[in-house]
Each structure stands twice: as C-alpha cells, then as structure tokens.
C-alpha cells in the first residue's frame, strides 16, 4: 500500500494509541482509540455468547458498559437488535418520542445516563454473527460521512480481534490485512467445506481455519486455497492432514 487508505489511517490510530499506553493492541485499546478519534464519548463491543444473547467484551468507559448491561437487564436495545441479526442502527436523536417508542425501557435509562445518540454496527462474516460495535455520543446528531466510514473500519478491526480471540490467536503484530485477510472468496468456501468435514457450525469452522493458518504461520488465503483444491482436509480429531 503506497498511498494512505482509510484502513491505513485507522490502523495507524489504533497502534499509536496502544503504543502511547505501552500495551499491545487489544479490543480495549481499540475501543478507547475509537472513542478518542471519533466524535463519540464511549465505545463497546458485545458478542453473542452461547445461548446468552450478549456479553460485553470490551468498553472504553463506564458509560458504554453500563448501557450495554442495561440492555441485557431490560431485554431490549440497539445492540441486542443487531446481535439477533438486525441491520445497523444509527440513532442521531435518542431523546425523542420515536426512539422512546422503539425501546421504551432502554431509552429513558440511556438518556438518564447521558447518551443522546448511538450507532450500532454489526460485526459479521456472512452468516456468522460475531457481535456488535456500538458507539455512544453525549450530544445529538448523526455521524458525518467520513467519521461513519472510519467507524466501519474500526468495527472491522474489532471483528478481527474478536475472531482472533475466539480462535486462540495472539494479537496481530502488523497491519492485519495481509495474512489475516478474509476478504477472499476461497476463505469462505473453505469455511463451508471444513464445516462439513468436521461436522461443526460455520463459526467453529472459520475459527479452526484461522487457527490453523496462524499456527502454521501461513496466509489464511493460502491454507483456504489448499482446502478448496482438495489438497488438504480437516479431520474431526482436530488435525489437518495433507493429501486426500
């Protein structure tokens, strides 16, 4: 990448923030970096956890954790809506009748806590519902176009960190677009194939594929291409074997 793309810029912000704190890049430092960079006051990542609908994985401050947990308590809210498969939720004005009608229990408490706008972005890989990346602002107003686009990129990095954690992969050293890239079709085809080979769900299959690429230190797309070309199978005993 020679010129600066939005992804480069955002990744630069994420790594600089972690460096300034003297910690490796993590979900926590990423949420904090997003809250500092974007015109919002708090950022959280919640995921589906087994049959429990939501678990707050990380939050940039007490407000976001409080509001995420509030949704669990009252059983409604934007994050829950996204976690069960809804589209993104962008509410520029939380303190209004329309928002109240949408979430009658959540909104009054959220407004009370100081939230005036929220933006919940789904974290997904095809049918895999990984989680939700939610930003809370203490002032009303939609995110401007460029900030929204940056929020999507932050969410994309958050998605990868959540997936890494689930696959037991360590914190990425460099720009994760290289060998963690999952934008290529063979990665998703291989995921489908592995789910049949192992008799597991698609999310589990994706996790196994990523873990395998990581432990071998090889690009995800290369390992995936081998699976698609049937030069490699995944066996239910957790090992991948060469040849067929």
């Amino acid at each position: 990448m020679t010129e600066t793309t939005r992804a480069d810029r955002v990744w630069g912000v994420v790594t600089a923030y972690a460096e300034a704190l003297g910690v490796p890049v993590s979900l926590r430092s990423l949420c904090q970096a997003a809250a500092a960079r974007l015109p919002v006051s708090a950022v959280a990542v919640s995921v589906r956890s087994g049959r429990v609908v939501s678990e707050v994985l990380c939050a940039s401050g007490s407000l976001s954790r409080e509001l995420e947990e509030l949704q669990l308590t009252v059983g409604e809210g934007p994050s829950l809506q996204v976690l069960v498969g809804g589209p993104l939720v962008l509410v520029g004005d939380l303190d209004c009748a329309e928002s109240q009608a949408r979430w009658p229990l959540f909104v009054p408490a959220a407004v009370q806590a100081g939230a005036r706008a929220l933006f919940a972005l789904p974290l997904r890989v095809g049918v895999i519902r990984v989680g939700v990346f939610i930003l809370y602002a203490d002032h009303p107003g939609q995110l401007p176009a460029e900030e929204l686009a940056e929020a999507w990129v932050f969410a994309e990095f958050a998605r990868r960190l959540v997936l890494d954690e689930q696959a037991g992969i360590g914190t990425p050293e460099g720009y994760p677009v290289d060998w963690l890239s999952d934008s290529r079709p063979e990665v998703h085809q291989a995921t489908g194939m592995i789910s049949v080979q192992l008799g597991v769900g698609i999310a589990e299959a994706f996790s196994r594929l990523r873990a395998r690429a990581f432990t071998e230190g090889r690009p995800l797309s290369t390992v995936a291409a081998e699976v698609v070309a049937r030069r490699r199978r995944f066996d239910p005993d957790h090992t991948a074997r060469e040849g067929v």
Binding site: S183, V187, H188, Q189, M193, I194, S195, V196
Partner: protein, 247 residues
C-alpha cells in the same frame, strides 16, 4: 437486433429492481447480460469495501484463475485505476502493458486476455466499484461496447443503491456492506455444497442459482438456509453436474 436485445435487457433489469431482488443474483444476471450483449470474453463486477479493497461481487465464470485476475487488481490494474480515479480505463494490448501494471498485465496475458476495459460504478461524486471487461483479441473493444458497458455499470449502481432510500450517507454504507456480506454468505454455502457433493465451488454456485430461481427463493436467503441446515440440498442433487476437474 442488438438494440432490441439491449432494450429488453434494460426492461428486464428494471423489472428485477422493482420485484424485490437478491443483490448477488441481480449482479450476476447483469454480468451474464454483458456477456451476451457485448462482444467480450469475460466480465466481472467489483465493489470497494470499507478498507478500499476491491471485492468480486459477480463474475462471468466462477473459475479460480479469473477470480484471481480480478483480485490481483488490489495491487495494480485497470480496475484499481478506475476505482481510484473514477474514470474509465482501457488498454488495447496487455502484452505491452507491463510497465503500467507490473503484476496484472503479465497475469492477464498468461490467462489469454489481450484487451481490457474498466468502467466506474459511480454514485454522484463517489466511486463504489468497477465493471471489468476482457477480450482475448487485441484492440477488441469498440467505443459502443464501452458505452453500453458504462450503461450496465450505471444499472448495477442503481440496483445496489436504492436511490429513494438514499437520504443519508449511512444508507449507502449499509447497502454496500450488506451486498458484500451477501456474497460471503453465498461463498460459505458454495463450500458446503461443494464438500457434500464432491463438486467444485463453481458448479455448486450454478446449482444454487438454478435451485433458488426455480423455487422463487432469493439466492442469499437460500444460501443462508443451506448453512443453517434448514434446506435439504439433496432435493436437487439428481440434476447436479459432474465436478469439473482442474478448475
């Protein structure tokens, strides 16, 4: 004659837009029509994601070499140039284009292509992707071909972005993201079908399209049902084509 077909194509595409369509199926139909209407050897439609990476949404053949050729253009190539500048980009002979596109030109030549053309998918001032056309002969894309190509790219843009819903930038971002996500769902389902029935992903895709169309189901919803295990795919196995070796 060509004009008649063109008119019919646009009417058909307009109908699809009204009828409530599946975005991936729609884009594939559009690429299929490109192949019929335009004298081209291969066509593909690419969208930019939030990382500004170009991702293939539809391609005239689901073969790995062609897909690779589209994907390669995240490094260099006419699609990348077109996406970055918003201008149509052509080259009449890829054999002498290695200076311009050091990775793409040799790979495309190797695959047997000589002429290349990329037209932007543009929404107002924003470029959201590109339509890529290939021909195996040099100097093979007439001006009217590129004009029609641009018209097709415009239809694709309109199909992707439902203008009347587009009051805000966030709707655009959401619709693009949803389109990219649909494609991922279909790839996951292709893998499942390919593995279950010992066929290659390209053949699995053809099966899915035929089945979804015959049953009046949206392609992406059908793919999601395959992944959920709520659709018995054995139902359409008898018509399954044999695996194509080496693809």
């Amino acid at each position: 004659m060509a004009d008649d077909r063109l008119t019919r194509t646009f009417v058909e595409l307009a109908d699809t837009l009204v009828a409530g369509f599946d975005v991936v199926e729609f884009l594939h139909m559009l690429v299929d029509r490109c192949m019929e209407l335009l004298d081209v050897s291969a066509a593909g439609l690419l969208l930019g994601d939030s990382h500004d990476q170009l991702r293939v949404m539809a391609s005239s053949a689901e073969n790995i070499h062609l897909l690779e050729l589209f994907q390669l253009q995240n490094h260099d190539g006419p699609c990348l140039d077109c996406y970055l500048t918003g201008e149509p980009i052509s080259h009449p002979d890829l054999r002498v284009a290695a200076d311009r596109w050091p990775m793409f030109a040799p790979a495309a030549t190797e695959s047997g292509f000589r002429t290349v053309h990329a037209v932007p998918m543009r929404l107002r001032s924003q470029v959201i992707g590109a339509l890529n056309l290939f021909h195996t002969e040099p100097n093979a894309l007439a001006p009217e071909v590129t004009q029609i190509g641009q018209a097709m790219a415009d239809v694709a843009t309109i199909g992707l972005i439902q203008e009347r819903a587009l009051h805000h930038q966030h709707v655009l971002v959401d619709q693009l993201q949803t389109a990219l996500d649909s494609r991922v769902i279909i790839e996951q389902a292709k893998g499942i079908i390919a593995e279950r029935h010992g066929i290659d992903p390209g053949a699995a895709f053809t099966l899915m399209r035929v089945y979804a169309r015959n049953h009046g189901q949206r392609l992406t919803e059908f793919a999601a049902a395959i992944i959920d295990g709520t659709t018995a795919i054995t139902k359409f196995l008898p018509s399954a084509p044999a695996a194509t070796p080496g693809v």
